[in-house]
Symmetry: C2
Subunit: 369 residues, 2 copies
Amino acid sequence: MEFQVVKRCKSSKARLGVIATEHGRLETPVFMPVGTAGAIKGVSPEEAREAGVEIILANTYHLYLRPGHELIDKLGGLHRFMNWPGPLLTDSGGFQTLSLSKLRTISDDGVTFRSHLDGSTHFLGPEKVMEIQRALGADIIITLDECAPFGADRSYVLNSAKLTEKWARRCLEERKDNGQALFCVVQGGIYPELREMSARGLVSMGFDGYALGGLSVGEDKPTRENVVRLTREFLPEEKPVYLMGVGTPDDIIESVKMGMDMFDCVMPTRNARNGMLFTHKGKLIIKNARFAEDNSPIEEGCACYTCSNYSRAYLRHLFLLREILSFRLTTIHNLYYYAEFMSEIRQAIRDDRLAEFSHDFYRGEAESL
Amino acid sequence: MEFQVVKRCKSSKARLGVIATEHGRLETPVFMPVGTAGAIKGVSPEEAREAGVEIILANTYHLYLRPGHELIDKLGGLHRFMNWPGPLLTDSGGFQTLSLSKLRTISDDGVTFRSHLDGSTHFLGPEKVMEIQRALGADIIITLDECAPFGADRSYVLNSAKLTEKWARRCLEERKDNGQALFCVVQGGIYPELREMSARGLVSMGFDGYALGGLSVGEDKPTRENVVRLTREFLPEEKPVYLMGVGTPDDIIESVKMGMDMFDCVMPTRNARNGMLFTHKGKLIIKNARFAEDNSPIEEGCACYTCSNYSRAYLRHLFLLREILSFRLTTIHNLYYYAEFMSEIRQAIRDDRLAEFSHDFYRGEAESL
């Protein structure tokens, strides 16, 4: 993987970059939709591509449990398995052992946990996580981290950050020269000095990119923004920085201004399945009765497949009946919205008008809400 | 609507026909997938078309209840509402008042029933059914019929057939010169003389096509085939005949030989959602453990989107997780299988080798089962 910064914003730390992988090239800032189990829920790879998706995040935790990384390896790797020829990123599974599994116990060597699917006991250590991600074959893989639960006290977070650093080193040692880019995860909770410690330690080892973990887990927005801003200071300018689990369009735009390059979140896809649609004038709840006879598209002027072919009235009808097609059509729109939004952000950086773009964005949102 | 028989089979009553509607032309024998509420569950209109679908059946009963025919009319009709520019057929709703609704009571004027959705009381009479179907705007519409429950005694079935004839006449009187073809429904249960009576009565009024109703409701296959064969004798050669609710590939091929031109059934779509896939070598149950590591497509040589891009192993994985994409990919394959199957039947009629085709079909099925 190669990363190059091609333009820097004059009014903020935002930058326009290019990531080149064996499976294609993409521009940053970029948003990565989540394809948890090897599929973006409800849409085909071709549709995702048509909606502007350039890179998909898949979850190591889920794929390890089902159908198993060895099986995917045997069948030719994750790209082929899920029919997505473009860039892929897999996470380390560390976060899901916290958020999904039961009875997580942590040792120096890794995490023992019970599967949320069948209660079976599993162990993920740094070496294992590298083996799994090598088998899956994503273009970007991530070191095992320990994500401290929200509200953990300082000493827990300190130990957690140290352990994350130790595991990152073991992942680095386990790394093969197979073309996969390796990102590490900066931890340290909401404590500035722990974030600095974590960042400095990891940067000294040298990774292809740096993820910010342990955020969007319950802290408030100013706290998160503060952590992002100060952590960025300790990360190298020439490497991509990935803010994990973020977020809403306004969180993304603020994070871009703080130098974040990559984002992922289940929001556009999950909210779509719940009938919440993104527009440039705020959120639209498709089941709302006022759309019952509305023959206009979700958003006037939107060029997505859904807006090009279906009315709000039809989408509301399908949603109320829980028709399978409903989830798909709403997901396509939200994916398109996010891809367009990122594309607009990149264009604004290119044209030196990010501040103006940001101002217009908030004004548009405010108009309708 | 125009219908023309372009070729007759020498060894059976099968025929190759052409139906021309304002929304396109199609060849018969044809299979119509079910798009109950204005969507084939899980697939887009473009996908359905790509899978070979030429005409979709939508259910008047469902669309009347939700979102309502007046709404669909206001929004430009069903074709536009569901984004399907091709031929559409709507049924009369009579069958669903039997199969789905509660507390059905029948009078000379129509059917009073309770919605299966919310228990609300509704009335469907012949004039109402014509009004609803006019508002929906399908290319082919159907007269209200009374489908006798399976096992009903002869006198019930006799009255039911008489009522169906009376309602057909009222539908005919209600008909507008708006380009919609009007089919009636032959009833009479499993009683040959009642089927003859029903057919003769309806034919004397003159409809654009004749549907055979009240079959596939519980009777055995020889009984059904006997009814189909003898009823066909009393229907005009120059009109299309539609065998409602049939069926499996072997039921279809036998019915084609008896002169049936049109078919509908939820089987390809519903079975797909349950993981049952049609192949030329019999049925394939995708969740079967022997497909866990199977990198081959559902059916070798199948040109559908699913078989062109995904392995049995991936489809099994998605199915076990109940991923939305699963239902779609399996549905696409089954729709394609049915469309291909009908296309092969038509080609066999064209080439005067339907008997041979039928023989090969059963041999293929037997090989694998």
